[in-house]
Point group: C2
Chain length 203, copies 2
C-alpha cells in the first residue's frame, strides 16, 4: 500500500542513474580540476539546484561517484581465499588506475596518484567529506571483512586471524605505493603481496 499523502517529490532512480553516469563520465574524461557540477547538470539534463541540493560541493559529488564505482565490484568468497582476495585486489587496482588516469591520456606514462590523492586531500580538508569517505569505506570494507571471516570459518585462515588488520595489510600496501612511494601496482605485485600476507614472514 502506498501512503495516501507523499511529502515532497520521490527521488527518481532514473534521474539518479543519469546524474551518476554523467558525473562518472565527465570525471574520468576531465580529471578532478576541470570537473564541474554545473557541467554534470547540463549533461544529465537536470536543474543545477537539484544537484547542489544533494551534493553541496564538487567534492561531495566526486565521493558519490567513487562510491558508485566501488559498488560495481563484486566481493565474494568462493572457497579459495587466495584466488578470491587476488581477484578483489586486482579489481581495486583497476579502479585506482581508472581514477589515477582521470583527465589524462592513458599512455601518458604519468604514475602519479591523481584523483585518488585529491579525494584523500578533500577528506582531510572538510570534515563532512571525510565522514562521507569513511562511511563509504566502512560499508565497502564490511564485504571483504566478511569474505575473510568466511575463509576463516572454512578453515583456510587461522582461527585468530584479525580480518581488519589483514585487509589493512593488503589494501594498505596498494594505496601506500600509489600515494606515497610511487612504486607500481599491478597483477604481479598483487601476487607477491597476497603470498606474503597469507604466509607471513617469521622464520
Amino acid at each position: 500500500m502506498e501512503p495516501a499523502v507523499r511529502r515532497g517529490r520521490p527521488r527518481s532512480e532514473a534521474a539518479d542513474a543519469r546524474i551518476n553516469g554523467a558525473a562518472l563520465e565527465l570525471l574520468l574524461e576531465r580529471g578532478y580540476d576541470a570537473f564541474s557540477v554545473d557541467e554534470v547538470a547540463v549533461k544529465a539534463g537536470v536543474a543545477k539546484t537539484t544537484l547542489y541540493r544533494r551534493w553541496p560541493t564538487k567534492d561531495h559529488l566526486v565521493v558519490a561517484v567513487v562510491a558508485r564505482m566501488q559498488d560495481e565490484v563484486p566481493v565474494e568468497y568462493r572457497g579459495d581465499v587466495r584466488a578470491d582476495l587476488t581477484r578483489y585486489l586486482n579489481a581495486i587496482v583497476d579502479g585506482l588506475d581508472r581514477m589515477r588516469l582521470a583527465g589524462r591520456p592513458a599512455a601518458s606514462g604519468d604514475a602519479s596518484a591523481g584523483l585518488v590523492a585529491e579525494v584523500a586531500a578533500a577528506a582531510a580538508r572538510h570534515a563532512d567529506i571525510g565522514s562521507a569517505v569513511q562511511a563509504m569505506f566502512v560499508r565497502r570494507n564490511a564485504l571483504v571483512l566478511r569474505l575473510i571471516e568466511e575463509a576463516r570459518d572454512a578453515g583456510e585462515l587461522c582461527e585468530d586471524v584479525e580480518p581488519e588488520v589483514l585487509f589493512d595489510q593488503l589494501a594498505g600496501a596498494l594505496y601506500y605505493r600509489l600515494l606515497i612511494t610511487g612504486r607500481p601496482i599491478g597483477t604481479a605485485y598483487v601476487d607477491r603481496l597476497v603470498t606474503s600476507v597469507l604466509r607471513g614472514a617469521a622464520a
Copy 2:
C-alpha cells in the same frame, strides 16, 4: 687543504639548520594552508630570494621539512626484529601524528590526515614534488629494507622474505588507516599489525 679558489658562496650549514628549524616550527604551528615561505624567511633571518632559489614553492619547502623530520628517526636492527620494527613503526606513527595535527589544537579530536594528505596531493599534482617525495621515501625506506635483510640474515625471517613487500604491508596499513579509512593508529594497533605481518594468516 682548502682549494685555493671557491666558486660561488658555500652553502652555510648554520643557515640551513636555521631555515629548516624555522620552517618546521611554523609548519607545525600554522598548518599547511597558513604556512608561507615569506614568513619562514623572516623568522630565519634570511633573504626571501635565498629560500625561493632552493625551494621554488611552498610545497618544495614542506617536503624538505618533512624529509628532515624523518631523518631524525633512527632505524636500526638490534637483534630482535619484532621489537625493532615495532619501535620504528611507533616512530612513524608519532611523526604522522605531528604532521596530522599541524595547525590544530592537540586536543581538537580531529582525526583527519591534515598535512599528510596535503603532501600526498601536492605530490600527485606536481611532477617535481612527486619526484622529491618519492626520492625521500626511497632514501628513507632503504634503511628499513636493510633492517629487514639483516633480520633475515640473522635467521629471524624466512630466507625468501621480500623486504619491500613486507614493509609495504606495515607502513601501508598505517597510511591507509590515516588517509583512507580514518581508523585510529597507535601502539595497540602497531602491535596487532606486527603480529599479523610476521606470523601470516594461512591456516
